[in-house]
């Protein structure tokens, strides 16, 4: 399975960003809830803005977003979104290693389904390489004037 390098970059930044945010939110949540109850909303903002883990997570997710927009400017949404779900596999594996979350047998089955699904979607993009007009689309746009001339005739 061959994926666009930008797809891989988007997946890596997204997964790592989510892991860092989880680490930060789990650690900060008691102090955030205390500030919230005391109506110290600015203090909540200060708590997250000065937390290196939280801010690294935000930086990674911002990078992900720029890469994601670049992908969307070039490729179909119905290709980009499914293919970036490789990130679920990476997030589940990282969550197991870094956060100590469990991967049960059904979850492994889920990982296998996603891997095969991504393979199928990535194959469908090969049928219409980037930069070339998509063969299935051209007839659709060509049909419209044809229908109109028939109707006016």
């Amino acid at each position: 399975m061959k994926l666009h390098p930008l797809v891989l970059a988007s997946v890596a930044t997204n997964s790592m960003g989510n892991i860092l945010l989880t680490l930060a939110m789990k650690r900060l949540s008691p102090s955030l809830e205390a500030s919230f109850q005391a109506h110290h909303y600015l203090k909540m903002g200060w708590t997250v803005a000065t937390d290196p883990t939280f801010m690294s997570g935000v930086a990674l997710l911002t990078t992900f977003f720029v890469i994601f927009l670049t992908l969307l400017s070039k490729m179909d949404l119905s290709y980009v979104l499914p293919v970036t779900s490789v990130g679920y596999i990476i997030t589940a594996l990282l969550a197991a290693v870094i956060l100590g979350e469990k991967i049960s047998i059904p979850r492994w089955a889920g990982i296998a389904c996603i891997a095969f699904g991504v393979y199928l979607v990535s194959r469908s993009e090969k049928a219409a390489p980037e930069g070339q007009p998509k063969p299935e689309r051209t007839p659709v746009t060509a049909e419209i004037p044809a229908v109109e001339t028939e109707m006016s005739a």
Partner: protein, 123 residues
């Protein structure tokens, strides 16, 4: 119950945001950057387009739902829950963005949704 509402927020905001952003980025088109000046021009063009602002507002809604959800549940639970948005997104991409979704792409998308669901449910 709260977690269900938060996850619904992630899915709905996320899907609408993705559809708007995809539409906007296709309209803006070529993002190739060859110089620093190019980078600023492209950034300016993207940042000032109404579609981008609207899309980002939706993504922000999804993001805050995600943050709230992550403080209540595991990342390997919350993350894959957004899988339902694949089906919604693909339907939106086909009918609103007029993308060509062939059988291979549909099968793959449904498998991914199933896979993410398997990751999502608790045992």
């Amino acid at each position: 119950m709260t977690i269900v509402l938060l996850i619904a927020g992630i899915i709905l905001f996320g899907t609408v945001g993705d559809l708007i952003l995809s539409h906007t980025m296709k309209r803006i088109g070529d993002l190739s950057v060859r110089s620093v000046g190019d980078a600023f021009r492209v950034a300016g063009r993207v940042l000032t387009s109404p579609g981008f602002i609207l899309g980002v507002a939706c993504m922000a809604g999804a993001f805050f739902s995600l943050l709230a959800a992550l403080s209540q549940a595991d990342v390997s639970l919350v993350e894959p829950a957004t899988s339902l948005s694949f089906v919604l997104n693909t339907i939106g991409a086909k009918f609103l963005l007029k993308e060509n979704v062939d059988r291979s792409r549909w099968t793959g998308t449904l498998l991914i949704t199933l896979g993410a669901y398997l990751l999502f449910i608790r045992y």
